[in-house]
Subunit: 334 residues, 2 copies
């Protein structure tokens, strides 16, 4: 009928409907296409964005002009702004602070018609080096506790522009979802004296029930307690708490596995909208945190809708088992 | 620019974008219409559903025939089934149990073209009495720890059938989202020796910043740290841990405020899709739980999409402040 499965990373129960066990045709997958006017992220339109913060300009062209290979700009409609603070205060019985933070957009390529999956491994490496460079830069402000890198692809996944881009946000608090992972990983480490993420990666590689692909440095798999159909995690094989400590050779393999995973969505899941998020250790974390937290990427194709049950309970009903999902994704011709 | 606000019920931070502060026209609201063939919930089609469990049949007509006013049937595609168990077991390093539970559908009225907001207060009272009756019945199985009542209205909110209905599910575990509320409420009670929900209701009524409507027994308001635009909570004014302890006179006022709130979505938010969930105290809870937990309803109009940021962080960016939302909802002509 169905399994109730416990996610060891968050202590969240997920209902896996092994009876339905839908393939991609079981979902009404929305087109990722976003219609719009003049693209502010295309070359020649640099004046349509706020002034650039970072760019790969191999021929040393002027800022905010064409000639770039990647380009990072402040989000024109930021969720948070870098202003004095945070001033934490009470409002009656409630608590608030002003919303300080940086919110940046990384334009991944000059070509409007190429999505991240379509770029060459070399171009994806450049994008990952921007992720690393901007994360290190934003992490220098000691008021921030977290730098989050995330991508929305397609309207249904929350994107509002088509030209391929990633967002980066720095936050004055540790997000709840990351706190949950930290607490779970801490409890696991207290008991086992091992990193839960290392153990998961090792088990998925050894048993191959849910593995999708791997290379020397990374493994991609469908998590045992996947929240949503065809969810994928990409995990470094060697323990590493900070994404920003990724080495040059690891960047090559991360680019390869990221392209591989995104191509599988394109081929096996009809180019479904998706989100991915890089989870990394908070900035200026407690002593010891480096032993039990392990950076990784969560990739969520957007095939189903979040409904009342999920909102009400904080857990998820997934109509595709991760065993079936990984088989379909593994066998996709990429 | 924006506030970071802490939800005292869950310790979740929410970004409220007070700069944008969008009204209903700022969102691309999807139509709630669901196209389909023959409706299995209409009178004369009773044989299309599994055999009925409960019905209001004032003229004592036969089961699974017309003549009903409300009708409850097992979900044809249940997330969980009532079978032996739960057998909790390890799978390598992972934990699982079989997915036991009941999953029922309450058909709220015979009229295919009326939604819950359109029904008379008397008919909504009948529906609420079914909620109560079925919750009590499902709660008798000691293997279950929670009975969740939730409604999905419109395709974008996860509904798959148009004929107005509510779902009810019993679970062998306490959902994570409810555990978070319990833990927060417990910490608050430990410190203040008061119920956090009572304090919230009192403050919202006194200060009127976010109140939408009220009657003798209930208040509806936009929560201080609303996760999504135009979120509403309905809270009993008098402390009551269990929804199932709702009295006959409270049922009348609950029907009135529920209709009022749903009509405001229809009028002010262009009949937006929505979810609502009844949060109540777990079954067979710990001693003392009755003092600090307080049943309530969370109503979430579905105006925006959940994107990578929300998935990655577990907190939410809301582009409409609850102060603006409550003003718009309060002033809607219902």
């Amino acid at each position: 009928m169905g399994d109730l499965r416990l996610d060891p990373m968050t202590a969240r129960w997920v209902i896996i409907s092994t009876e339905k066990d839908l393939g991609p045709d079981g979902y009404d997958i929305e087109s990722p296409v976003i219609k719009g006017g003049t693209c502010p992220f295309c070359p020649e339109n640099e004046k349509m964005t706020p002034p650039e913060i970072d760019a790969d300009r191999p021929t040393k062209t002027a800022v905010d002009t064409p000639g770039w290979e990647t380009r990072t700009v402040p989000n024109k409609y930021p969720a948070l702004k870098n202003e004095p603070g945070p001033d934490r205060q009470g409002v009656g019985m409630f608590d608030m602070m002003n919303g300080i933070g940086e919110h940046e957009v990384i334009i991944e390529d000059i070509d409007h018609d190429k999505q991240l999956a379509d770029l060459s491994v070399e171009q994806i490496e450049k994008v990952i080096r921007v992720y690393k460079r901007r994360s290190i830069e934003l992490g220098k402000d000691e008021r921030f506790k977290y730098v989050l890198i995330f991508k929305n692809y397609g309207l249904a996944a929350g994107a509002s522009l088509e030209h391929s881009h990633t967002q980066l946000i720095s936050l004055p608090i540790i997000p709840k979802r990351v706190m949950e992972e930290l607490e779970c990983a801490h409890r696991y480490f207290d008991y086992k004296e091992r990193c839960v993420f290392c153990d998961i990666a090792k088990q998925e590689i050894e048993h191959c029930h849910r593995e999708i692909s791997e290379n020397d440095d990374f493994v991609a798999f469908s998590p045992f307690a996947s929240r949503s159909p065809f969810e994928m995690h990409i995990m470094p094989k060697v323990h590493n708490p900070y994404f920003t400590d990724i080495s040059d050779s690891e960047i090559v393999n991360f680019a390869k596995i990221l392209k591989d995973v995104l191509m599988r969505i394109k081929v096996a899941l009809k180019d479904a909208p998706y989100n991915f998020i890089i989870h990394t250790t908070p900035l200026n974390g407690n002593h010891g945190i480096q032993e039990y937290y392990h950076w990784h990427v969560e990739v969520m194709p957007k095939l189903s809708k979040i409904a009342g049950f999920e909102w009400g309970t904080g857990f998820y009903i997934n109509a595709t088992s991760p065993e079936t999902a990984s088989k379909i994704l593994r066998e996709a011709k990429v």
